[in-house]
Amino acid sequence: MDFKGFDAFPGPRTEDQLPHTAQTAVKIVIVGGFGVGKTTMVGSVSEIRPLTTEETMTQAGIGVDDNYGSDSKTATTVAMDFGRISITEKLVLYLFGTPGQERFWFLWNGLFEGALGAVVLVDTRRLEVSFDVMGRLEERGVPFVVAVNTFPDAPRYPVEELRTALDLTPEIPIIDCDVRRRASSKDVLLTLTRFLHSLALSGSLT
């Protein structure tokens, strides 16, 4: 077997190493349809170059429609990009961008169950691709905010019209963003964290 020379695997650059004081980590999930900008968002705020973790899905996990990796008869590799933000010397935040289809989620233990919350990234040209993921998050009791990645040629709807269309309760934040911009992606994450904090204050998080 070719080990590809494990010593050749570079690992993190020295400046990307976490301090020894790093005790614990938390995660936030960014979920949305293909091409909606999940990886761009991860990359714009991450302190490390985004990395990719992979899992292999057997046919049993692929489900009824076989349009994802349909050229493989037995197994499909599903990739998830992620990035990292050091919060304090002890605490690290990881951001995972994941496809919206639930059949991918069980591949990674506790991806949503353990996450502090989620950002549902939507494209108003294809709003309906995010419907199912929002429903799944609601069913699982995962708190989320909706971030509208404002593509130049996408229709613009007033927030209240979007809220009605997405059937979101009044407290769930809806925010416009341009995920290519660090400040904008940071605002989305801050919006989510403030929302989670407000849930903590009201004690309504289940």
Binding site: K4, F6, D7, F9, P12, Q17, L18, H20, A22, Q23, T24, A25, V26, K27, V45, L51, T53, E54, E55, T56, T58, F82, R84, I85, S86, I87, L91, V92, L93, Y94, F96, F106, L107, W108, N109, G110, A115, L116, G117, L127, F131, M134, G135, R136, E138, E139, R140, P155, Y157, L162, T164, A165, D167, L189, L190, T193, A200, G203, L205, T206
Partner: protein, 140 residues
């Protein structure tokens, strides 16, 4: 133009998700095709119990590479001189996440690495944790 409409759903109790087994046994004695790019046979006891390892469990080496360490184990022990998450380890070693959990479970059992569990969402969220995350993000 009116946007398409969705119907809200209610929280429900879902069965726990199936464990992320990389390759269940083929159903009808059919031979499993081999994928030469993947190292599923990385650890002998792959059917054994796995430690509760999350994507963001931080792994820290307790010692340098031992003489008996496999190349993969040696790579982990070398990379984890500083804390590194399971997800980062899997990415750097180019292993599927489930294969990584098998490898790390063995290293934990051999007391060669230490795992630092993540903080997960709780019914009663930790306000001070969320405040720390907010302040950290504001400094970005």
């Amino acid at each position: 133009m009116t946007p398409p409409r969705r119907k809200r759903r209610q929280p429900r109790h879902l069965p726990p998700p199936p464990p992320p087994l990389p390759s269940p046994a083929p159903a009808d004695g059919q031979e499993r095709p081999r994928n030469p790019e993947r190292l599923y046979t990385i650890a002998a006891g792959a059917d054994g119990a796995r430690a509760e390892l999350d994507l963001v469990t931080l792994i820290v080496a307790r010692s340098g590479p031992t003489p008996s360490a496999s190349p993969e184990e040696a790579a982990v022990l070398r990379l984890c001189i500083a804390p590194l998450s399971m997800a980062e380890l899997a990415a750097y070693l180019q292993l599927p996440f489930s294969a990584m959990t098998v490898l790390i479970t063995e290293l934990i059992a051999a007391e060669l690495v230490q795992a630092r569990a993540p903080i997960v969402r709780q019914a009663v969220p930790d306000r001070s944790l969320l405040e720390a995350v907010m302040h950290g993000l504001q400094r970005l």
